[in-house]
Amino acid sequence: MPEFTVKVYVRRKEGVLDPEGNTIAGAIASIGYKGISSVRTGKIFIIRLEAPSADSARKDMEKVADKLLSNPIIEDYTVTVEQV
């Protein structure tokens, strides 16, 4: 079976407070970079797996993102798939 690298990007939904992002925005300004309007933080999960097709790898990992990697109350995610 072909092998794939699936990347799951999990981030806070729009409108959900991101105090860590706000603090980082302040820190970026403090090292001299102006004009930062916002920073949103998140996580990337890089998953390697064997699957019959890219489509099936994506569908499975979307379920994993729904059930475990994200909390749908506060987070959104996007998934990308690349064949290894």
Binding site: V16, L17, P19, E20, T23, L68, L69, N71, I73, I74
Partner: protein, 229 residues
């Protein structure tokens, strides 16, 4: 009454909960390892505080998929009493057994301090020994205790009167200054609609005898016991 305290890898309030429940309140209590798939015949399951699975992914997110959680879901569905304290509350929201989610404290700091909370209802098995409006002094110790729910969910929580405890000042007033972690509507603890599952961030087990500095939390264990006397 019989109780079981669930032990996850990383739980660190399991023995405190056992002590408060068994030795102080006099509830016949046992430990229950998270890999068990069955719950012994008990009336109450306690999910203790700590850092189950190192808080990896999100606080409570990995514990949610522990083998014991399936049994706890069935136990709760059949009316069994479940008390989740601190990390236990986070596990209950991650499991969907309680609404909302506990996110990082607004201050981004770990908070370890005494707080005051106000009892909002005493028609529950957890609070029957208190009066509505009673102010309890209990410790908190958490990094993710900031209760969040989307507007519709928050409205529903308030409409159905699921809030059991709110952070307050020493006189019972709900103020911004008395809200330690930024929780919406100063929520410190909520129950489910059926009234058999409670999640709370403050630690009643750490305030269950005078030598600990407060015994305001003992009433929760006593309320539970009284209901089965």
């Amino acid at each position: 009454m019989k109780a079981a305290v669930v032990v996850f890898p990383g739980s660190n309030c399991d023995r405190d909960c056992y002590w408060a429940s068994h030795n102080i309140a006099g509830i016949d209590t046992v430990f229950l390892w998270h890999k068990e798939r069955y719950i012994p015949p008990v009336d109450l399951v306690i999910l203790p505080g700590g850092f189950s699975y190192g808080d990896y992914l999100r606080a409570g997110a990995i514990a949610r998929v522990s083998p014991i959680m399936g049994a706890i879901r069935d136990f709760a569905a059949s009316g069994g009493l479940v008390l989740g304290i601190c990390n236990g509350f986070q596990i209950l929201t991650e499991s969907g057994l309680l609404p909302g989610v506990l996110v990082r404290n607004k201050s981004l700091s770990f908070l370890c301090q005494y707080v005051y909370i106000r009892v909002e209802r005493n028609d529950t098995p957890f609070t029957r020994g208190y009066n509505v409006g009673d102010v309890l002094r209990l410790p908190i110790a958490h990094n993710e205790g900031n209760f969040f729910a989307p507007p519709d969910m928050l409205d529903e929580i308030e409409r159905k009167k699921l809030v059991l405890f709110r952070y307050c000042d020493s006189n019972g007033n709900i103020t911004e200054e008395s809200n330690p972690n930024g929780s919406m509507n100063s929520i410190a603890g909520i129950i489910n609609e059926n009234g058999n599952i409670l999640g709370m961030m403050p630690h009643p087990e750490r305030a269950s005898e005078l030598i600990l500095g407060s015994r305001d939390g003992l009433g929760i264990f006593e309320s539970l016991k009284e209901g089965y006397a």
